[in-house]
Subunit: 142 residues, 2 copies
């Protein structure tokens, strides 16, 4: 990552960090540089608070999602259903593509999200098994 | 994935699929097997609707998150700030760990989520550049 060019503003001092890159810490020191920089720092801080709020919501929703998929896994195992359900998977792929477009999100990212939750379910299952515990039912098609 | 053992219920017929595995499609055909299976199918369908609602919320939130991080990237570039801000990254790692525990989510999954959004931001940037477009500002530290 190179530094952005064509800056029409004075650059605040960036601290050199390992690997030859540099960083700009968005804090009071940076804001003190000049009034225009202070406005930018305030805007970035406000956006970061929104990003943090989004992350809180997503982490909370992921916690609920794993609870639901565990329940589906237990129900399927008790009923003797196979974990796989490719019709469900196809439905989810098509659905996430559609809602991503509606939301203004690159549909490739929505598909990567789906693959992420599937991969995490698999890893979580393996971690519990490796630790000698009962990993329960692995159901990535919930 | 092997089929679960110790099923105390009659198994509905599973369809053989490629790779030697089998699947159970949760649908009206499966529910018709017996009344107890019908109850399980209804429960799974209800849970799947909740999973789909969670996914709709997460995809919508991811769309907003990428909009916010793009704005931070533009602000940093205009101000001549470096993209990197390791203090911010450390803060996010610690924060996501904490809120995951509060939410009942494995903190490793929260960290994987953070790495997922960072990786997707990088890939998205590369895709736009490869397509000959202006990828804008890559800012994975937003």
């Amino acid at each position: 990552m190179s530094e952005p060019e064509n800056s029409d503003w004075a650059k605040p001092s960036s601290r050199e960090v390992g690997g030859g890159g540099s960083e700009t810490v968005i804090d009071a020191d940076t804001a003190r540089h000049d009034p225009q920089t202070a406005v930018t720092v305030a805007k970035i801080k406000a956006l970061r608070q929104s990003i943090d709020n989004v992350d809180t919501a997503i982490v909370s929703l992921l916690a609920e999602r794993f609870k639901y998929t565990s329940q589906v896994g237990v129900l399927k195992a008790r009923a003797g259903f196979a974990p796989a359900d490719y019709k469900r998977e196809d439905y989810q792929i098509e659905r996430l593509h559609r809602i991503a477009i509606d939301a203004g999100l690159d549909p490739d990212i929505a598909e990567m999200y789906r693959e992420f939750v599937v991969a995490e379910a698999k890893k979580r299952h393996q971690r519990i098994a490796d630790a000698g515990g009962d990993p329960g039912v692995l159901d990535v098609f919930a």
